[in-house]
Amino acid sequence: MADKILSGISVATGIAIGKAYFVNRNHKAHLQRQTVAASQVPDEINRLHDAFTAVESELTATRERVPADLKDYGLLIDTHILMLKDPKLAGVAEEYVKSLGLNAPWALEKAVSDQEAAFGAIDDPYIRERMQDVRVVADKVQAKLIGRESDLASISGRAIIMAHDLTPADTVELQVDKIMGFATVRGGKTSHTGIMARSLGIPALVGTDKLEDFVRDGDLVILDGLSGKVVVNPTETELEDYNERAAFFENYTRKIRRHCQLPAETFDGSRVSVLANIELVEEVASVIDNGGEGVGLYRTEYAYMNRTELPTEEELTEKYVDLAAIMAPRKVVFRTLDLGADKFISSFGELNETNPALGLRAIRFCLKNPQLFKTQLRAILRASAYGNVSLMFPMISGVKEVRQAKAWLAQAKAELRREGIDYDPNMPVGIMIELPAAVMIAEYLAHEVDFFSIGTNDLIQYSIGVDRTNHHVSYLYQPLHPATLRAIKLVVDAAHQAGIEVSLCGEVASDPFCVPILLGMGIDSISLTAQAIPGIKRIIRQTNMHDCRKLLKDVLECRTVSRINKLVMDNIFKHFPEEVSFFSSLLENDEAPS
């Protein structure tokens, strides 16, 4: 047996085998607080400046390696270099050595504390957070001064990076070719580590408990991003086993990537559209590369976050037109703002909601703030002149809400017409079905719109009444709860009865085990994270619609989640016995943690 096998949450698949390398940034704990004799002050000052200069030349070298498509990272390093050269750090630290006789690390720490006080007093949260950058820069200098260098930049061979947490600033310095994978203690499914790892095509785990206790620098580790495990100092047999698995996996990925541009058509000729969920316009390249037939969910929130002022119509239009034009003739479905007031930095004040998930958010928030809503509607309409654009409203609970939202849309259209600005008058309008109320009245709602999109993540939470981020109850979050399946079925049937299309976006759509059931329901399209598209397309292409309908029928007769999970897993094991270990899934049994 290996020394230890640790579990984490996989955020990027694959297998890496290599030496562990710890990124330790807790320099504060190693600070030696000493004073220096007057005679040594000049030497200490030289030491201080040497450390600053050394870090500066490292950062300058890193800056030159940043690829052009990571422009934001480049700008971030520019900022770091300027901070490094700032008299308020090096200069003030030098003063502390001179006047108080502090040693260089202590003097620097004191200069940083001064900045902490200055930044702490700032109201603007964006600027206040820049203190993190000051810390990052100062930590690098401290590492030089204390002689404990464990920076990413100094890795000599290829390594698997272990860390308590990785910040975007850390990932800037990655010498990409040297990193085989990541494992961190902190971080969740959506953390930056995962995004970075997926774009590099290397495995990554987050939430790996006890990582720091059981792994040391130089340990041989297997990072299994398929089953979410870190195997520390494996045996020969385990190594052989994993080497084989890694080769299989590589083979498999190459195969599905090769076929990802083919249509998602079952053996017996049923077609389903496979689209991508995106948050940033920059993701379109990955959508197209992975065989996405369009964007089924464009989350428009990003432009509103981390800023003090609302985006203008011109700013939104520019972004939206870009997206519509690049994707054309492929479809892009814009979801209007799905935020609560709590996400806006300063524009709307505090609402003090006891229960924000049930509060003023998404379409409710937009209808309360028509000016903001109309600005976005106008921008989406303007983009519709440049491509194949659809629009949908999130969190709809009833017919009246749809009509109100559509009335604002009609008004935006009328304004544009008067102003002589182009838009697509036939732009399809749909709604997200994510509240149980909307499920129950789907047949009424279907007469109000051109399409439905089922948002399963929220639908599961709202119908089971469970917050999946609350670990006391998250075991109840069950994608294949009989209630969820009935809800989806009801919505699909209501849509088809009314002659409109129904799509499904939510993690269920990227779960290989769940997809056959969705096919059986007769869903018209699914929308998922771009990286998962090749694998899901392959499953669809290797499936019979006839089998999917049969599976659905059996599943709908089950009364418990565990029974349903067993049926869908058996189905995949039967049809994909060799690949099944490469699939990551949401499905877990609904047992309460002891």
Binding site: L75, M83, K88, I127, R130
Partner: protein
């Protein structure tokens, strides 16, 4: 000679100043603050940015950041030194162009 020196000195000691508006969308955040510091570092003159209650060194990105100037804020640029006039003109243009180079 004495007189000449004094004249030169007093010319150097003259504080030039001008007002600028923070006209870009986000205010003096990291990027614009960095550009201000970078530009200011190119001059010998001593350059200060002043808002209602704070005066900071324009050559320090940290100082400029802690000014936390919001869009629409009016700042005073105070410059003193050999190339004061050029520095003032250059920084004023930077603000006017909303920090695009």
């Amino acid at each position: 000679m004495m007189e000449d020196n004094q004249a030169a000195n007093s010319q150097e000691e003259d504080v030039l100043s001008g007002q600028v508006v923070v006209a870009n969308e986000h205010g003096l955040h990291a990027r614009p603050a960095g550009l201000v510091a970078q530009r200011a570092q190119g001059f010998e003159a001593d350059i200060k940015l002043v808002n209602a209650e704070q005066e900071v060194d324009a050559k320090s990105i940290l100082d400029v950041l802690t000014l936390a100037a919001a869009p629409g804020d009016v700042l005073e640029i105070r410059v003193q030194g050999a190339d004061a006039a050029d520095a003032l003109a250059s920084l004023t243009t930077l603000f006017k162009n909303k920090f695009t180079e």
